[in-house]
């Protein structure tokens, strides 16, 4: 670990990632450049953003420009800070590096090159979703029948759909919805699964049997059938919103987490440090939350990062079946569904959102696999 750096590293200050690329750290270089290019593209959208900020927009879009602006600034700071750190490496506190758990995990994570690349892809995807108002040239819902079914070209980068809506903008806005559905639904599933799994494993006996019986019951039903049934019941009542879809996805996705956490807790609760906590007189709640759950979380993090990809996929299938987020809101699955009828004449409508789904799922899977290796103590550096 050299304290000095090659002059080439300073190229990173022009475009973060370039310095990494030139000094031979290719994965970091390409990964950072992905985000950097988004930032540059976003710069072109500044006028649009300012316009949006000045004009009192519709209630839907009131908050989005501000989110975009803040994320833009944060991304700029983060990217250029990375570039600067390469050019002028900070003094590394070797003692700290050896001892900090986080540093060890980071180091282990960086060994897995595809995992690191997955992380950069995930970062770029999230950044893209956040910067959408700056990146998207058109209103995603603006209908112009005169421009309908135009192929990819200069006027519309990825072409237009049957209503003449700009596909590029729709895919970008779709990223926001699809990714947020992934994150929120999985967050919900992770929380429910962790709580139920922890309670089940810790208390055992009748509670354990009940929770696990319920978990197995849900697991034995195909998820799509379950979803269709619930959505059928709920939409019969006339409610079908993004919020609802998220909640339903969350409520049907926690079983895997619950099983993982339960098995972790079962082995953790036999450890002596838990006995010591009992001996000191701690309450069950404190033992569970302070001593057991933090030690059970590593596999949950891995599971959750993988589940985000599959949840995006499930949402896409629902939208494709016309049971997902109601139109005109753009989600990747819904756009694919829109293009179904025009698969022969206007292939671009299906292809581009489809590619994004593939890219997103792949990114989260690569990232999750990397995390799994890094968090598995058995694979961690010998010693």
């Amino acid at each position: 670990m050299s304290g000095t750096s090659s002059p080439l590293a300073w190229a990173g200050l022009v475009a973060p990632g370039l310095g990494h690329l030139l000094t031979g750290r290719k994965i970091h270089g390409v990964g950072l450049l992905l985000s950097t290019s988004l930032v540059f593209m976003g710069a072109a959208g500044f006028p649009r953003l300012l316009e949006r900020l000045a004009a009192p927009g519709g209630p839907d879009f009131a908050i989005h420009p501000y989110v975009a602006l803040l994320s833009y600034l944060a991304a700029v700071i983060l990217l250029w800070w990375q570039a600067l750190r390469l050019a002028r490496p900070p003094a590394i506190d070797a003692e700290k590096l050896k001892t900090s758990q986080l540093a060890q995990i980071t180091k282990q994570f960086q060994r897995n090159r595809t995992g690191v690349f997955g992380m950069y892809l995930v970062f770029a995807l999230i950044l893209m979703a956040l910067l959408t108002p700056m990146l998207a040239p058109h209103d995603p819902d603006q209908i112009d029948v005169g421009d309908k079914l135009l192929g990819p070209g200069t006027a519309f980068l990825l072409g237009t759909d049957e209503f003449g809506r700009d596909l590029y903008s729709r895919v970008l806005y779709g990223a926001r919805i699809s990714l947020s559905i992934g994150f929120v639904a999985v967050g919900l599933a992770g929380t429910i699964g962790t709580l139920l799994g922890a309670i089940s494993g810790y208390f055992g006996g009748f509670i354990d049997k009940l929770i696990m019986w319920f978990t197995d019951l849900l697991l034995s039903l195909p998820r799509l059938v379950l979803l269709l049934a619930i959505i059928g019941i709920v939409s019969a009542a006339g409610a079908q919103t993004i919020f609802l879809i998220v909640v339903i996805l969350g409520l049907t996705g926690w079983m895997g987490v619950a099983r993982i956490v339960r098995s972790q807790v079962l082995s953790l609760k036999e450890q002596d440090f838990v006995a010591a906590a009992h001996a000191v007189g701690l309450s069950n709640q404190r033992i569970l939350l302070r001593h057991i759950v933090p030690n059970a979380l590593a596999p949950v993090i891995v599971y959750v990062s993988l589940a985000i990809g599959s949840t995006i996929l499930v949402e896409a299938s629902l939208s494709f079946l016309g049971l997902g987020v109601p139109p005109p809101t753009a989600t990747w699955g819904a756009i694919v569904n829109d293009g179904r009828e025009y698969l022969r004449s206007a292939w671009w409508i299906t292809l581009f959102p489809g590619l994004m789904i593939v890219l997103a799922v792949m990114s989260f899977n690569l990232f999750g696999d990397g995390l799994r290796d890094a968090l598995d103590p058995k694979l961690r550096g010998r010693g």
Binding site: Q101, Q271, D272, F273, A275, V280, R286, H291, N295
Partner: protein, 331 residues
């Protein structure tokens, strides 16, 4: 003799064995089956035996980490098994435990300050700066550097981790500590350091120890009295010198003769024990020890050994008790 700090009477800890879909209880593993002893203030009782004899279960049952099946434990005049809620929490302050494995006994995600200080915080004894000061004092007392307070367990060696475990047990100023194989996982030079520390702490604070170990040399060194367990029962209990110099139960004698002595050529007449400790799920009838007993093998046994009841505990001499059909009560 004044009343002992801890009186254990006919303690039983049975684990149910379940089978089948409905988890029917088909039998019990009698891990501890009628154990009685007393420990006085500032005294150390050594509890020895081979693996599976129930010694660890005794320690954990006393502290109510495992539910007891029967018997009573009186601590400081209170019936331990009757306590609930606040009185139980108060009792926890007086009874602590030190574990064998310095790795699994510390929460890897907590720093040393939290590990040692949590008890003080939860019991409302100290917080903020005072908490920090007390943790620092405890760390210094057990031979750790107080500036390492923010470190995590994996940054310490086995011996140091055992010191952290001792500091945690000491934090609540207990009157009684169960040392469950507390030095067994340590190297000899570190083991000696920890043994000395435990002895110093006993002198300073008047703590009583139940010292559970399979290492008879260590038990001899630290104990005032020693109890020998075999398959869930105490087979012999005596003052330490009496037990080691004048063992009366055949099992104790065999156990003592099996210990390798660090003197080459000091070959002694070993009382060879054949076979293994029987499975506690299905212990032998009569005296649990009779299938391995060298006296029974030598034809000196009586019919009760194999077919009779479990031998009663008899007084062999002053402060010396044993449970064997072949031992006549002494004075």
């Amino acid at each position: 003799m004044s009343e002992s700090l801890l009186q254990v009477n006919d303690l039983k800890t049975w684990f149910p064995m379940k089978k089948g879909l409905m988890s029917r209880v088909v039998g019990h593993v009698k891990a501890v089956d009628g154990v009685s002893f007393e420990i006085g203030a500032g005294e150390t009782l050594g509890l020895v035996g081979e693996s599976g004899c129930g010694k660890t279960t005794v320690g954990r049952t006393l502290l109510r980490l495992i539910p007891a099946t029967g018997g009573t434990v009186r601590f400081d005049g209170k019936n331990v098994f009757d306590l609930k809620g606040d009185p139980l929490r108060a009792l926890r302050r007086d009874m602590q435990i030190i574990f064998q494995d310095p790795y699994s006994s510390l929460n890897p995600r907590m720093d040393v300050r939290s590990i040692i200080g949590e008890a003080l915080q939860v019991h409302g004894i100290a917080k903020g700066q005072e908490l920090e000061d007390r943790v620092a004092a405890l760390m210094t007392r057990v031979g750790l550097l107080a500036e390492h307070m923010r470190r995590y367990p994996h940054e310490f060696s086995g011996g140091q981790r055992q010191r952290i475990g001792i500091a945690r047990a000491l934090a609540l100023e207990p009157k009684f500590i169960v040392c469950d194989e507390a030095v067994s996982a340590l190297d000899v030079s570190v083991q000696a350091q920890i043994l000395n520390l435990l002895e110093d702490l006993q002198q300073e604070f008047g703590i009583s120890y139940l010292f559970i170990s399979h290492d008879l040399s260590v038990v001899r060194h630290i104990s005032d009295r020693v109890a020998v367990m075999y398959l869930g029962r105490i087979v012999e209990l005596a003052d330490v010198d009496e037990l080691f110099d004048n063992p009366s139960h055949p099992y104790t004698r065999a156990l003592l003769s099996a210990i390798p002595v660090p003197r080459p050529g000091a070959k002694k007449d070993r009382v060879q024990l054949d076979g293994d400790v029987p499975n506690p799920i299905d212990p032998p009838t009569g005296c649990h020890f009779h299938p391995r007993c060298p006296m029974v093998k030598a034809g000196e046994g009586v019919p009760e050994c194999s077919t009779g009841a479990c031998p009663e505990t008899v007084t062999v001499g002053p402060n010396h008790f044993a449970a064997c059909h072949l031992i006549q009560p002494g004075t």
